[in-house]
Symmetry: D3
Subunit: 137 residues, 6 copies
Amino acid sequence: MIYITRKEHFNAAHRLFRADYSDEKNLEVFGKCSNPNWHGHNYELFVTVKGEPDPETGFVMNLRTLSEIMLNRVIDKLDHKNVNLEVDFMAGKLASTENLAVAIWHQLEEPVSQTGAKLHCVKLFETERNFVEYYGT
Amino acid sequence: MIYITRKEHFNAAHRLFRADYSDEKNLEVFGKCSNPNWHGHNYELFVTVKGEPDPETGFVMNLRTLSEIMLNRVIDKLDHKNVNLEVDFMAGKLASTENLAVAIWHQLEEPVSQTGAKLHCVKLFETERNFVEYYGT
Amino acid sequence: MIYITRKEHFNAAHRLFRADYSDEKNLEVFGKCSNPNWHGHNYELFVTVKGEPDPETGFVMNLRTLSEIMLNRVIDKLDHKNVNLEVDFMAGKLASTENLAVAIWHQLEEPVSQTGAKLHCVKLFETERNFVEYYGT
Amino acid sequence: MIYITRKEHFNAAHRLFRADYSDEKNLEVFGKCSNPNWHGHNYELFVTVKGEPDPETGFVMNLRTLSEIMLNRVIDKLDHKNVNLEVDFMAGKLASTENLAVAIWHQLEEPVSQTGAKLHCVKLFETERNFVEYYGT
Amino acid sequence: MIYITRKEHFNAAHRLFRADYSDEKNLEVFGKCSNPNWHGHNYELFVTVKGEPDPETGFVMNLRTLSEIMLNRVIDKLDHKNVNLEVDFMAGKLASTENLAVAIWHQLEEPVSQTGAKLHCVKLFETERNFVEYYGT
Amino acid sequence: MIYITRKEHFNAAHRLFRADYSDEKNLEVFGKCSNPNWHGHNYELFVTVKGEPDPETGFVMNLRTLSEIMLNRVIDKLDHKNVNLEVDFMAGKLASTENLAVAIWHQLEEPVSQTGAKLHCVKLFETERNFVEYYGT
């Protein structure tokens, strides 16, 4: 079993808040991240898939294919967008990095499995100092 | 003459657009950066000052002081904010990285000169692949 | 189960040696790291905790809280300090990166568990090219 | 159980292709990586070993020893070399990052085990955005 | 005057040698870089242009345009290529980083000046530890 | 004129203080950096030299030579050492990054000029967020 990883990035705006909280409560719970006028990040996304290398190509999965799946299913929907307002697979969810990583997993799991490889990990950096990992369970 | 540099960062939302342009024209000129729902970045700010080291302390300027000036005059006003809507020193200006770097220069020039050092360069990364430098003239 | 990670840093001096070794033996076993006049590093500390995201906040754990625990229990005790001489939780221990990582784990395990999350990994970089990971067992 | 990691690097040329494919087929399957005139990379190699720290030295394994094993068994054979033409342990194999990581594992497994530690992971970056991990099974 | 910089990268093979040197002399002068079977790098290219920001757009130059010029005139000709054998603007030149940076300058100078901005610096990293800068004179 | 840069690193302990200050005054002026038990850093040193590329080799200066000068004249004297106590060219000087950069310049200027190139800049990172540049005047 070999694990291969591809990194892609996107720039997006978001806000952490609950509509059923007052502004004060949002500020208390979510801090500066609750700013009603939004803020944003240069997100870095690392996606790891696993499998046996194909004896003919030496590839677990062509990284060009993995990159295309990431671009079509995740990056094009998030890059230069507002995570709270414009991303179909985040509709109705709090825009935390945790929730975003899980939602990205669900965007990728099936198209990766169709290639014969298996999605192993979604690792999402919100900043250089904060990141989240999700392994599907 | 010695040059010393301090790096600080901030996360902010912005949008590139002109109110006197149609949406189509904004998209044509500013591309994805014109998204009306905002996007954002992890900005990295490098500020360089120059001077002679004080023979008593070996410092051109105490980096603690430089960091405080940067936090008070720039970072606290930008971090987790919307550059277009909430930053007093950017009011009425296009939120391009170029304009932001020049505005940051004007925020810093006087408090730096009061320490006896001289502001030399403001270098602002919008992303790892795009950055701007301004030397005051 | 989601894994979230926070990075903090500290600058410290240390020395690798045993008092019951001669200087020659210390040099032979620990190399340049045995220098009696100390040397030091910019350590980078990555702490990973795991748990289920709170449905109300989308957080496994508020990263502000994790950062505070790291600062109070680890960073404030190590930053700009001598690991061999001044750090209570390293008293009587060889100041290897391995031992430091294990000791940091024991500083963090209980305060993290009090938040409802679970400490998963302490990853400590001594230099960009050398690092240690400890998972608690 | 503690995990320690050492990073080394090498610069090498390679080409992805099969002699039994036509040039067109090689281009279709391997893309630009099939260029008959070669291309190359600054590879970064992270090797992780695991074990109990020696109570006398605080070391799972002396990193100087790990570095020497990596240099003797892997880096000296790859650095400034052509992976397809000049690397004995890659003879007859497709020069994919997957295959290279597995072959590096087999170069390192025994000399690491002779130190009393156990090889845990070979992680090989081909570029900053593409990397492979192998855990031996 | 403002300076803006765009970073792009390419992976290429090269060899440092002179056809009028013996193999021994090439090895003596160019070291491991003279390997007849090639080696390669992940080059990082930073291109800086300077000018006054356009009052209408806030841009010295649209970074999309700068990126396109870099891709068309430099990256597409170098990426996954052999610098010695396949790059028209390096024909007949020693493939040193110095010569490559100067040649890249001449590829970029005119198309940049046609946009109204002025090429300021070509900075080329061969490895993380070695880089070259050229300012046109 | 072309500028080439080589990066090397060293790990060292230091302390900022004046013997003619009280401990309180040292703490007030130099903050945590005045800790009598030392602290330390992973310093990164970038040395830039300038000159015309040799038409025969394409080199401003052989980077192997530049690296050797840096190792012999600077790195070997600083690595795993105490800057205040053990470094001949820092004797009697405050161990600030500014003073260290100037002293490194004086270590390098003559051996670089003997190669026919000219020392241009010494850039010294104390941490990822603090660095100093010196151009010789």
